[in-house]
């Protein structure tokens, strides 16, 4: 059986105008034999050789059978190569999924941090609002008013909560 380089040479030498049908049959038989055993890069090369072979076939009725057979073989080889590539991707997908999950964990943590920062912004707004409210209440402190005192107490507790957001223990 001819090796791929010899086969490539054999097909290159075929001429649609001058080569007899026997030269085409010999070359095609060799391609078919190689197709049974070729793997990996050899499959790719064999597909290219078959492609050249098909291009060299003369447009003669006597070559119709050979043309049909070579097309069938080319279609089969295309399907096999396609299935191989898809299964290569599928095989690695479990590992890729694991990595994507690990990355997602980092994303979630970073988003959590970003969300905490958003809370800080809210707290800042809240503190500003509280000052305005406190000022209004303190203005009323001339009389000993139990309700006002309670409100004031609540405000001061609120102030404590706002400050807590900035304490290092909460990061």
């Amino acid at each position: 059986m001819a090796n791929l380089n010899e086969l490539e040479q054999q097909v290159e030498e075929l001429d649609p105008l001058t080569s007899s049908i026997f030269r085409f049959i010999d070359a095609f038989d060799n391609i078919k034999s190689q197709a049974l055993t070729a793997t990996g890069n050899d499959q790719d090369k064999l597909r290219d050789i078959l492609n050249v072979f098909r291009g060299r076939l003369p447009d003669l009725i006597t070559h119709k059978r050979l043309r049909a057979d070579s097309k069938d073989l080319a279609d089969t080889m295309m399907q096999t190569a396609l299935a191989t590539r898809i299964s290569r991707i599928n095989a690695r997908n479990a590992a890729l999924d694991e990595l994507t999950e690990a990355l997602q964990t980092q994303i979630d943590k970073a988003n959590q941090d970003a969300s905490l920062l958003e809370q800080i912004k809210t707290a800042v707004d809240s503190a500003t609002k509280t000052v305005a409210e406190a000022k209004a209440i303190v203005d009323k402190l001339t009389a000993t008013d139990a309700t006002t005192k309670d409100k004031l107490k609540t405000l001061i507790e609120g102030l404590g909560n706002i400050s807590n957001i900035f304490s290092p223990q909460n990061t």
């Binding site: 097309k71 590539r85 890729l96 990355l103 941090d113 920062l117 800080i120 400050s163 900035f166 290092p168």
Partner: protein
């Protein structure tokens, strides 16, 4: 009276210097933007490859019904197989967006801190009658800013460092005692092992795992699946072995295969690159098949057109040679009549024979006719038949000149007087044939042009997807470099540059939208 808020500020004052060594977060907005454009471009390539498969499956003029059924199945399998790649691209976008959010927050932390301190001091002043000196307020503002910046910087650095192993596929180097190795600037040294044969070895090992695990997993109950869901892959395998779903041999095989996969430490970018390499191959396989079948289907139009062109070219060549012969014969007569250079005339007669030789190669009937005419001419044509039959060679100039010298001017003119009408007749026949071929060529040109346009369209799409895949691979390499620069930027306060990624992204979009270039 002691104010609790003031105490807290003082506590922060004491603690913050201990945390904050380098509160620098680089601006990654450009990296985020370019990365999103890169992933968008890669998604386009994935989509185009899927479309190519669908198109092939629809071509009943190129493939048999059985082949198209298989192609449709492959197309579905393809769409499923690329989902994790698309999810990984989404994750890359989400990752940089989340980092960007942190970076932006870090930038605004000064404003936030100032606002909160102003509010707090205002409240304390109003409620408790305590007034902070402006220096205290300024210090407090600065400290809270630092505290907030520290947290975001620390988070940022932590996220980027951890993600580096996941996305870039780099890992810190440790010495024999397990201690991190650092370079002369104090930076942790990282290494990449995901090179060379990694893709093929990982693919083989992954296929081994899949072949063993897929049947096992599909035979599990819902409860068992639920129990496995939260476990790590290693624990999952152990659990399956404990449930007797995996034999000890199978467990060993899967563990070894997983060890091979993890030994390379490849990252998300590497896996996306592996998949793009396979997508590139899929594009070439399917496009080439479509092109071959298209050529085969249109072989008569293509062959007929080529034959007409070739035959007509041959006719035109013969016409040209006849015209050149007539022109040269006339020039020789003119030179002889005007006493031109003898050597030039002899040389021209050699050239005239070359024209005749070419005509005889192109037209064997003409050769027979001319030889017969010269034979019939007899002594009136002298040695002209020998002149016509002589085979020119690089070393036989003396011999041909001897024959030429043996032919008198009268014999030469008589011979040509008999040859030229034969050429004239041939010229007329060839001109008619040329006109017919030109007409035929005109008739089949639209069909031929349509076939060539279709071939070109498939071929152009193949080249476009191939170029897009190549640029995507380069862009992913540039992304990895940019992320590595980001690691350096955080730790060394250097500015982050993404110019290489930007250029690759431009290349990708130039391929997708060439008209906008």
């Amino acid at each position: 009276m002691r104010n609790p808020s003031r105490s807290r500020l003082i506590a922060i004052l004491l603690i913050v210097p201990l945390w904050c060594s380098a509160c620098e977060v680089p601006d990654i907005s450009e990296f985020t933007k370019q990365s999103a454009e890169m992933t968008r471009g890669i998604r386009t390539g994935v989509k185009d490859t899927g479309t190519l498969l669908n198109n092939a499956a629809e071509r009943d003029d190129l493939y048999s019904a059985a082949t198209r059924t298989d192609l449709r199945k492959s197309s579905k399998a393809f769409q499923e197989s690329v989902k994790p790649t698309l999810a990984a691209l989404d994750a890359l976008d989400a990752y940089l967006e989340s980092l960007n959010a942190l970076a932006q927050a870090n930038k605004k932390s000064g404003q936030n801190a100032a606002a909160v301190v102003n509010s707090v001091t205002g409240l304390v002043t109003t409620v408790a009658g305590l007034t902070f000196a402006s220096t205290v307020v300024n210090v407090a503002t600065g400290l809270i800013t630092l505290a907030e910046q520290f947290r975001t910087t620390r988070d940022f650095r932590k996220r980027v460092t951890l993600a580096a192993e996941i996305v870039e596929g780099v890992h810190p180097v440790r010495d024999e005692k397990g201690k991190l190795v650092k370079d002369e600037t104090g930076q942790v040294v990282y290494q990449r092992k995901c090179t060379g044969e990694a893709a093929d070895q990982i693919t083989v090992a992954s296929a081994t795992v899949k072949a063993l695990m897929d049947p096992v997993m599909s035979g599990l109950t819902d409860e068992q699946r639920k129990a496995l869901a939260s476990l790590s892959p290693q624990k999952r395998r152990e659990q399956l072995r404990d449930w007797n779903k995996l034999t000890a041999d199978q467990f060993g095989t899967v563990t070894n295969a997983e060890r091979t996969i993890t030994s390379f430490g490849c990252g998300v970018i590497d896996f996306i690159e592996f998949n793009i390499a396979d997508l590139k191959a899929i594009n070439l396989i399917v496009s080439q098949s479509m092109l071959s079948n298209l050529r085969d289907k249109n072989r008569t139009v293509l062959g007929f057109y080529d034959s007409i062109v070739a035959t007509d070219r041959k006719i035109q060549n013969e016409l040209e040679t006849i015209l050149n012969y007539r022109m040269l014969a006339s020039l020789i007569r003119e030179a002889e009549a005007t006493n031109g250079s003898l050597n030039a005339i002899r040389d021209s007669k050699i050239k005239l024979k070359e024209h005749l030789d070419n005509l005889f190669i192109l037209d064997s009937q003409l050769r027979l006719d001319i030889r017969k005419t010269l034979e019939d001419c007899g002594p009136s044509c002298g040695e002209m038949k020998r002149y016509v039959d002589f085979v020119l060679c690089p070393t036989c100039e003396t011999e041909i000149l001897a024959i030429i010298d043996a032919i008198s001017k009268g014999q030469f003119d008589t011979s040509n007087g008999k040859i030229e009408p034969l050429l004239e007749t041939r010229l007329s026949v060839l001109s008619d044939e040329n006109a017919k071929y030109q007409e035929e060529l005109k008739r089949i040109t639209p069909a031929h042009t349509a076939v060539i346009a279709e071939l070109k369209s498939v071929s152009d799409k193949r080249e476009q997807i191939d170029a897009l895949m190549n640029s995507s691979l380069s862009a992913l390499d540039a992304w990895r470099t940019s992320h590595s620069n980001l690691r350096v930027a955080i730790n060394s306060k250097k500015q982050l540059t993404v110019s290489s990624l930007t250029s690759k992204v431009k290349e990708i979009w130039g391929i997708i939208n060439p008209e906008k270039q």
